[in-house]
């Protein structure tokens, strides 16, 4: 069992009548890259600020390395923060910004100099000592903020949307950089973001938050392959969801009858014994074939649906189809352009097609009142219905 570095035990934060964080329990392990992911306003920053000590908790306990720090002010907690928009001290140069924490702890000058030098090298900014923050680009300010926090060798580093202000290219570059730095120094990073792709590429584990609660917690591939709710399914990428009833079970698989009567199969473990369910499948897991070339299919190892192509868009690596089923559902399909060599070979709009996928690639979500789709932030811009 890995050691817990940060533990939130039934933490609640209210602002007046408004509950920003609602009875939240979380454990972050030592050395882990942990992401808090969720739409704007779901309580990510508030959660982070309670760990940092900037926000008093209304109820619950915050533990750092096993010690209860709930009542400690920020300057007595062994965590440091990279603030949203960096909050560099405008009146101090880069050197003094980075040295700030060491000076407050009365570290001798010689050591300060050596450590600042080391940090500037770590974040790839040697020679920038005398610059003021307003003489730095966004990316450079970001690095200074990182160095300023890391120089204190905190037990945990908190990062609040640290890449949010950067343009896409720089952002990708800093994602790699941050990962490198984290694995080099090996401390726990708690990273807040509303960008699912960023969270997926960088994190060991992700907690998806919604309205002050954790919707699902797990490794990126768990969240993607087996989302536990429509919200998570929609927030992490594109998903096709279809309502149905569990009508039978065959060993590892359950039979789910969809609205139009079609039977599909899904892993029994995912269904949790619920009867009213929603089955989902990711667009890249679907195979689309022309109905004329009727593939030999057996219900045993393949799910199949009939549909009509509404739209086909060639995007180079893949072709994206929107396929409408007999009862009006629109499904998104990403077909890799493995054998085709151009848009001309794609299936045409209006063509009748068959969608097939493997039962193991189906995920099952219990239907609840909270089944409102998230506002996903995927790039292709197609919303499955």
């Amino acid at each position: 069992m890995p050691e817990a570095d940060v533990r939130l035990d039934r933490v609640t934060k209210r602002f007046g009548d408004f509950t920003a964080v609602d009875d939240l329990s979380l454990t972050m392990e030592r050395g882990e890259f942990f992401a808090l992911l969720g739409p704007s306003g779901c309580g990510k920053t508030t959660t982070l600020r309670m760990i940092g000590g900037f926000e008093e908790v209304t109820a619950g306990t915050v533990y750092l390395g096993g010690a209860d720090v709930t009542e400690l002010p920020p300057f007595k907690r062994n965590v440091n923060t990279v603030f949203q928009n960096y909050a560099l001290f405008p009146h101090l140069d880069v050197y003094e910004n980075i040295a700030f924490g060491l000076r407050r702890r009365r570290v001798p000058e010689g050591e300060v100099r050596a450590q600042v030098k080391f940090m500037l090298k770590l974040v790839d900014l040697p020679g920038y000592e005398k610059r003021r923050p307003n003489q730095l680009s966004g990316g450079q300010q970001q690095r200074v903020a990182l160095a300023r926090a890391l120089i204190n060798s905190p037990q945990v580093l908190l990062l609040d949307e640290p890449l949010g202000a950067l343009d896409l290219k720089l952002r990708k570059q800093m994602q790699v950089e941050l990962k490198r730095i984290q694995s080099e120094i090996g401390i726990t990073f708690i990273f807040v973001t509303h960008d699912q792709e960023e969270a997926m590429t960088m994190s060991d584990r992700i907690a998806v938050m919604r309205e002050g609660r954790i919707e699902q917690l797990g490794r990126p591939e768990e969240l993607y392959e087996r989302p536990a709710s429509s919200f998570v399914a929609g927030f992490l990428g594109v998903s096709n969801l279809l309502d149905g009833e569990v009508v039978g079970r065959h060993g590892e698989l359950v039979d789910v009858q969809l609205g139009d009567g079609t039977l599909v199969r899904a892993p029994a473990a995912a269904s949790n014994g619920d009867t009213h369910v929603r089955v989902g499948v990711r667009p890249e897991k679907l195979r689309v074939t022309s109905s004329h070339t009727e593939a030999p299919r057996s219900v045993e190892d393949t799910n199949a649906l009939e549909g009509t192509v509404l739209d086909a868009s060639y995007i180079g690596v893949s072709t994206q189809y929107i396929v409408q089923t007999a009862d009006g559902h629109k499904l998104t399909v990403y077909a890799q352009n493995l054998e085709t060599s151009g848009a001309s070979e794609a299936l045409a709009d209006g063509q009748t097609v068959q969608l097939t996928w493997r039962p193991q690639h189906t995920f099952v979500i219990a239907r609840t009142d909270r089944d409102v789709d998230a506002t996903p932030q995927y790039e292709e811009g197609q919303v499955p219905s």
Binding site: P74, F75, T81, F89, P90, L92, F100, R104, R148
Partner: protein, 286 residues
Amino acid sequence: MPGWLRRHRGIIPYLFLVPGGLWLTLFFVVPLITTASVALQEGSLGTGYRLTFNFGIFVEAIQTWDTQLVRSLQFGLIVTVLTMLIGYPMAYTIAFRGGRYKNILLLFVIMPFFTSFIIRTISWKFILADQGFVLGTLKDLGIVEDSFRLLATPVAVISGITYNFLPFVVLPLYVALERIDPRLIEAANDLYASRFQAFLRVTLPLSISGVFAASLLSFIPAVGDYLNAELLGSRNETMIGNVIQRLYLVNNDYPQASALSLILMLGILVSVVVYRRFLRGQELTV
């Protein structure tokens, strides 16, 4: 004309300076030159004045009025320190803790301006009077001695000036403090600075331009003030402003009055430059 303007577009911003420039020339530069020239003239109202370039008058004026000059600078300094000690916490509280009451609180700060400066100072005279309702009550209760007085003491004059210039200090300090991003203070706390250290290392240095503006706005008028000494003080609190006023309006000794005015200006200018250097040094210390 519009054609000419279009060809010399660059000139337009400078045209906006013209009204202010004319105004200052008329009411600042011209009087300054007149004052300098009057100081260097000799004569009397009866015989008329002649420009004699009598530079000795400056030495003479300083020697005659050294007590009042020094006293004015002293009072000015004390007032500046007091207004800062009272005004900074006020401005700080309004800026960081004012929340939605900020504007109301600022309104309270400038509220005294709704009444004339003279009227307010006269009412201080009543408040501080030997048998006024404050001292009178305290004396009746036996808390202070019967011979104790506030009026006609440096305390009264300094308090009066401090009161009068407090809003001039609060407003620039407020503007400077209000601009500070509270996250910078959180960042300082995050980096092991206690609340007090965060104030010392972040808030104070970032508000130093406000401190500078505020102290000028209290020091300069305080040094030249004569009304508070006139109404609340005695002969022992006479400030240089009172001397200049008397020389001009009572003694009609225009050269000496002009010389003193120039000396006062120069004294203030030197103090400001020295102060600026001192603060600049502060800003850069870590």
